[in-house]
Symmetry: C2
Subunit: 217 residues, 2 copies
DNA sequence: CTGTTCAAATGAACATCATTTAATAAAACA
DNA sequence: TGTTTTATTAAATGATGTTCATTTGAACAG
């Protein structure tokens, strides 16, 4: 039972975040409850509300930390690659690897719904932009393009990888699932970049078999 | 107050599903509750459990219906296109349109987590495969490729579109968001298909500026 | 018309949840 | 030592999903 002054406010905060993360990692988001977190750190529910405004805030804090860890993982992955294209593959692989290793926490980022609070969303968005930026840098290095196009390409590519993760990565870690995710990722990135490359000079030099028709503007 | 024998079991089931869909569409998944559905159809909670095993089952039934509607929308979209590539754009556009028009029900499909019941998941998977198939047909028509590659391409492309939807479509309908989603979709599909087309004959005829390096097998 | 049957429908009960708040106890300070 | 402050708790509130004993009313038997 947390004795008076045994832990500072920020210590309790940290303990709570770690306990909550452990619960989520082990049993999933639905298993998270204020009482469970409180008892895990040796306090009662009320104390949690002394530190966090509500459970939503706790979840958003965890999401922030998860995004930070993800960012660190991507940075780490970039140290193993040289050429921009290699780096893009590395980013995709690192993202999928993280999602596969921490499926519950990763899903939580996208499944939480903030009822109010635009402020926290801004911090959130900032962390997301940081992730985007890593891809943007590689795309810029790959080919000189108008800023607008790089912006779009970045979002399209990240979205594609995110989609692969969300369609293939289940609730419990499964190495076969992850392999499949990586395969899809390499396929999508590979062909997308090839397409980006060919349209650099001319958008329709190579008409494939079948009738390739331009999308109506 | 539902009088004795006023509605058959399947009628109540249908009423409940429609009421629940209306609640979700209007207030989101979190606003759904057994009591709310029951009172909406003029019955009490207990009666709901006479028809559905639990709320999870009701949600899965709704998801099934949503997937059916989505499928119908995609079929509809295919009637407006001629060439395979046009059709692929149309599929992507129809998917994003549906997600934008019914954000809550669309999200529910991916956010629900089945604790048990592999049986319902099979029906579920079957409906998903039907969606995949629509894309698969177009890809096959676009270019003759090994079956395995078409299989992968189908999943990669759908995943990409799904990712775009999940990253851009928020909780409340917003036409600007939807426009942005469509833009990303056209971009991703366009370059991906171009890439797929160029690699049909040779995988590296057009080396872009910057160093294009093959992904290590 | 009366009594019995039986499934449909109910509403209360249970356990759990997030959140609030009045009470308390310990530390800090006078 | 007495007062103030505040960290901490326990209990209360109202909502949730789910269960179940009870009731109700329609259909049928005599």
């Amino acid at each position: 039972m947390g004795r008076r002054g045994e832990h500072s406010k920020s210590e309790i905060e940290c303990m709570a975040l770690e306990a909550a993360e452990a619960i989520i990692e082990a049993e999933g988001y639905d298993a998270l409850s204020a009482r469970k977190v409180a008892s895990a750190i040796g306090y009662t529910v009320g104390s949690l509300y002394f530190v966090f405004r509500n459970l939503d805030e706790l979840v958003q804090r965890i999401n922030g930390r998860t995004l930070d860890q993800l960012y660190a993982g991507l940075i780490e992955a970039l140290s193993d690659c040289r050429h921009p294209q290699q780096c893009i593959y590395a980013l995709g692989g690192a993202y999928l690897g993280f999602a596969a290793r921490h499926p519950h926490r990763w899903r939580m980022i996208f499944e939480q719904q903030p009822r109010d609070d635009k402020l926290t969303i801004e911090v959130y968005q900032e962390k997301m932009d940081r992730l985007y930026e890593l891809m943007e840098i590689q795309l810029k290095a790959l080919a000189a393009r108008p800023e607008e196009e790089v912006f779009i390409a970045t979002r399209a590519l990240w979205s594609g990888i995110q989609g692969i993760a969300s369609m293939t990565i289940g609730r419990i870690p499964d190495s076969e699932e992850e392999q499949w995710a990586h395969k899809l990722s390499r396929h999508l990135i590979g062909h997308y970049l090839t397409g980006l490359g060919t349209t650099q000079f001319s958008s329709r030099v190579n008409q494939p078999v079948g009738q390739l028709v331009d999308y109506p503007k």
